[in-house]
Symmetry: C2
Subunit: 389 residues, 2 copies
């Protein structure tokens, strides 16, 4: 279907950063939907169906999705203000920049945060998490599924199993900004209470939507909170009636929903669930290995300390000795591929990041991955690296 329109995107630099990612032509068309009222009969069912589709993509049959105008960062405020009451303890598993920031957000809403902080490139061990969980009664534990600053992948399934065993009342909160759509995640089966994400990563939609899915248990905790909610824009009291209204195909007003972005989300979700999710996860693993293998062959070292704890939707790589960001990133861009610099505050200028999510992975006929490997290889070799790919 898109082959006829792919040519319209042919001449642009590929956006291979860990979000925003490349967009499907149909997603782009949805973005330029002509002016449409947010309570139009042509929009209401689209929004309603997008909410339903999120349950499928998050593997969460009875959970409550929220789709709100905002960036993924807003999802932290939603967790902190709706689920945690002032003074309650939260355990934050920290694998990089996003663990630091989630902590600041939680503390803004008076949560008492305990962190289990891994070294750069590592993740807290199950033993460390076990030990931390048994020291206090935590209202929630937060896991950054993939920390975009380090490319470290957390073992959400194993952590959730552990929580269920040693602290079953603790809510399991997953920051899935850089994982939903690229990493396997099954809310119901794994007993996850919240997964929050943003539109511009593996969901394949331009940035501007905060997407959060809360389990029935999380919603019960929300409904039974004893203190009031210390936010207006992030308050589920305001958003829940809106989500319920649109899902039952009625319009309702709290804040004007971003019509075009929601149309684009609907388009992308339909594409995602049109094929088995297993295949999608498998493809992301294969492409990730292919990219990582090609860089490894050139002698490069990754930020994550081994392949097992590496994300499948992005790769964080140290520059070769003596190479600076300006030596590589602009040259790869001149070759038609945009990659990203480092983000972690301690090692920012020492590494770069490549995103490989969404249609760049699931539609190999676009050759995005080939072009990315080619642009990287050529330029790294020009910097003196040797390798056979």
């Amino acid at each position: 279907k898109y082959l006829s329109t792919m040519s319209s995107q042919a001449n642009h630099k590929l956006c291979m950063v860990p979000g925003p990612v490349e967009f499907h032509e149909d997603v782009l068309s949805s973005m330029s939907t002509l002016a449409t009222s947010h309570v139009s009969p042509s929009f209401i069912p689209i929004f309603g169906e997008a909410i339903e589709l999120l349950r499928k993509v998050f593997c969460a049959e009875k959970a409550q999705p929220f789709v709100v105008s905002g960036s993924g960062t807003l999802g932290w405020d939603m967790v902190a203000s709706n689920l945690i009451e002032p003074g309650e303890d939260v355990l934050v598993l920290n694998t990089g920049y996003f663990g630091d920031s989630f902590t600041v957000c939680l503390e803004t809403y008076d949560a008492k945060v305990t962190q289990v902080k891994a070294d750069i490139g590592d993740r807290p061990s199950i033993e460390e998490i076990h030990q931390a969980l048994t020291q206090k009664k935590f209202k929630a534990i937060t896991i950054t599924h993939v920390d975009t600053s380090t490319g470290v992948l957390s073992d959400v399934k194993a952590i959730a199993e552990l929580v269920k065993k040693v602290s079953p009342e603790t809510l399991v909160i997953v920051d899935g900004v850089c994982s939903v759509g690229s990493e396997e995640i099954r809310m119901d089966e794994w007993n996850i209470d919240v997964v929050l994400t943003a539109s511009q990563k593996a969901l394949g939609v331009p940035p501007g939507l905060c997407i959060l899915v809360a389990s029935e248990r999380a919603m019960n905790v929300f409904h039974n909170r004893k203190t009031r909610i210390n936010s207006y824009y992030a308050s589920w009291s305001n958003w829940l009636p809106i989500m319920n209204a649109y899902e039952s195909r009625k319009g309702m007003y709290f804040a004007t929903p971003p019509v075009q972005l929601i149309m684009a989300l609907h388009t992308s979700l339909k594409q995602i669930i049109s094929r088995p999710l297993e295949l999608r996860f498998q493809q992301h693993k294969e492409v990730s290995n292919r990219i990582k293998d090609s860089l490894e062959k050139l002698g490069l070292k990754f930020v994550p300390k081994n392949r097992e704890l590496s994300a499948n939707g992005m790769t964080a790589v140290y520059y070769p000795e003596g190479v600076k960001p300006a030596d590589l990133i602009p040259k790869v861009a001149a070759h038609g591929v945009v990659i990203a610099g480092g983000l972690h505050k301690l090692i920012g200028p020492k590494y770069f990041r490549i995103g490989h999510m969404g249609i760049s992975v699931t539609e190999p006929e676009r050759e995005h991955i080939d072009k990315t490997i080619e642009a990287l290889s050529v330029n790294l070799k020009e910097l003196g690296l040797k390798g056979d790919n």
Copy 2:
């Protein structure tokens, strides 16, 4: 320039609600900008320039613009959390639904709100405001420039003059969601401290951006606050470095900016400032009078009690006796023009609303206003109304 592409929009129903409004073809093209990193050299200067252009549109030479992923509602959280400290008094001038909601938002952040509440269709008199202002020392006064629920226009200039005279330290906060771009507003000249708005009204961009401009005085109040900010996503401490970075043409990360929406904003702002703002305001007045005259001739009554306190970018009209929303709105839609029902909780089903903002007003060759008047007249006459237009 757009005449060649207007045909691509020819067959859609005109969106004549008080936001979202009709979009220019170039704005729609910007919305489907191919995947672009938020720190790309092709995006950074666009974002930077959009920030600069906002100062021109808001007539605020040295003020600080904020452009954030979110709806206009988020602007209230920004005001409440950044400028008001817990326990401080705020005077809310209430002309409808949005005064009620702004009050709830302010109280969420522990402001002590005093309201001057007008009857439906009216606005507080200068005498009432004067009296209220002298009763306490208010940190801020909030004015809904146009309350979208009633179509009542506030006299921002006169109120700001009064505040300067009787309570000069009080910050003047304008909710300009339904006024920026359609009603005259001059931040510097009128001594306004904050104007907040959203993208989807007279700025002519799809929904999804919260836009707020704060005066130097407001920024000083922010910098000198004694208590911490009780929000993370709405906190200017997080956004100010980002705005400064992009304005000095550097990328910086707090939350991924909505690239496509900001591109669209930039396109629309360029169009807006390409012609004198005076002309723009004049056109909105003329079109407003034309629409209101045509409805008045058919014997209809408006929600605002007279023309002087009626908005120029929208019209709120009572249905004729015995007519229900379902008798008119779907029929006008079948005629190709989408209008909106009522929003005010006390009179919701008794009135309807028409938006007349942006290109529908400034580009008469599109004939949006003619078509709207025609669709309304034909259908109102079919309901038994008599008139000569």
